[in-house]
Amino acid sequence: MNDLLPAYERPVLVRHARGAMNKFSRAASMQPATELDGVPYDRLLEAYGSPLFAFSERTLVQTYRQLEDAFATRWPRVRIAWSYKTNYLDGICRLLHQQGAWAEVVSGFEYDKAVRNGVPESRIHFNGPAKSEADLDKAFRGDAIVHLDHFDELALAERVARRLGVRPGVALRLNLATDGVPAWTRFGFNLESGEALSAVRRLIAGDVLQLVGLHCHIGTFIPEVGPYQQAARKLALFANLLRADHGITVDFLDLGGGFASHNTLKAQYLPGTEASPTFARYAEAIVDGLEALDVDPLERPTLVLETGRALVDDAGHLVTTVVANKRLPDGRRALVLDAGVNSLFTAFWYKHDVVPTAPVHGIPEPTILYGPLCMNIDCMRDTLQFPPMSPGEHLVFHHVGAYNVTQWMQFITYRPAVCLVGQDGQHALLRRRETLDDVAGCEELPAWIG
């Protein structure tokens, strides 16, 4: 050890590739992310271990306010219903409910979680294609807003309502065609074929359910605003038809979710930080479509948004530790990390933005990031230019707040801890790391095995 000598770095030699830059000639930059809202990642790792999901309360709250402001300055009545499936950690949900968000749930489990989080049942939008009779019973007793998905559910809802002696308000989920976005025809009643109108007539004839809302959800991670304008216009025209022909005035139009976060899809050319529309652009498009409504401006229905991904994705970060360096036969460097696709499910869809948590020196070279699973699919990030890293050093994946802490799976390793960094630098666990008892606790041993 001799501090007077230059520090040893693993030797690298990188061939210059001409013409490999993109058309904007942007140099690849690799700025380390050393802290989250003033709290060093190293300190979080000391407190909660690696790997670790870390959420920024500041980003979450700011993003919520940006979304709300974008729409509330353009439409008189706006309701944000937090999409539980995107991230149903209690701490995240409660932060959003404190901002004023209602709940949008798609299962009895999520419904119960929303109730446990203190959401009045009348502030729950209950979506999903497979609600049970018990789910509908619970929702109608609690005065939640059930979004009907198909005719069998409509009939079941009528039976439950009759048995309970109530006339619940319900919404119809519609699917519809927009330019450039494949229609999600598996959910709801199709608009263009006339199925949606048939559902309205069937509902009127049943004379037990009250139609209070129309809902559509055109897709997920849609980095274009045009389809939203079209969807909003179609909902508005259908609402006009219901009022003109059937005397039904709906209380709300629900445009669902699907706004793009700042992530970058694998097939996407420009990074999401540049390509994804702002909330203001989505709002302009939707409000433009809703102008087709033929109602007095003071009687405009509430605009409901079920934004999930774009609200929480940017607030979440995954901190991970380098376990090993490898050199692949084709010359690429590989890093083995202690977090894999079992924790970062969205690695299958996105080119996640990933950087070291400390300043690094040395020449970047083509590098592939693998997780710790003994499975070939466990690739956290396909080849990118990355600086030299040594075992024990840390990386952080950005924009991981949506879907990962719900779609992650306990597979081969324990699911990691999740922490929240508060707005004044405090931090605390949102979910502790799993233990063997958590995983094996649900198991039973048949008596004859002993």
């Binding site: 001799n2 000598l5 770095e9 693993r10 030699l13 020449i363």
Partner: protein
Amino acid sequence: MDDRQQLRDLALNDKGFVFDPLTGATFSTNPTGLQILRFLQEGADRSAILAGLQARFDVRGDDLTRDLDEFVSTLRRQGLVGQDFGL
């Protein structure tokens, strides 16, 4: 061409720029890689290179042997030495 001659023909500058006049290819290397290339141009053998690195850099628990072998395999892959070249 003789591997050592090909290595001697490489043009290096102090910033780690490497030019191979045989193919026209250019490379970047870090200070450690640059030092190894210079040792190779001087005809140093494996043990001399390892000792030279120990003497010139602050080495703390790094696996020099493994790093040197990997660097030599990179030279082979990039065509800067023949496929049979070894230390």
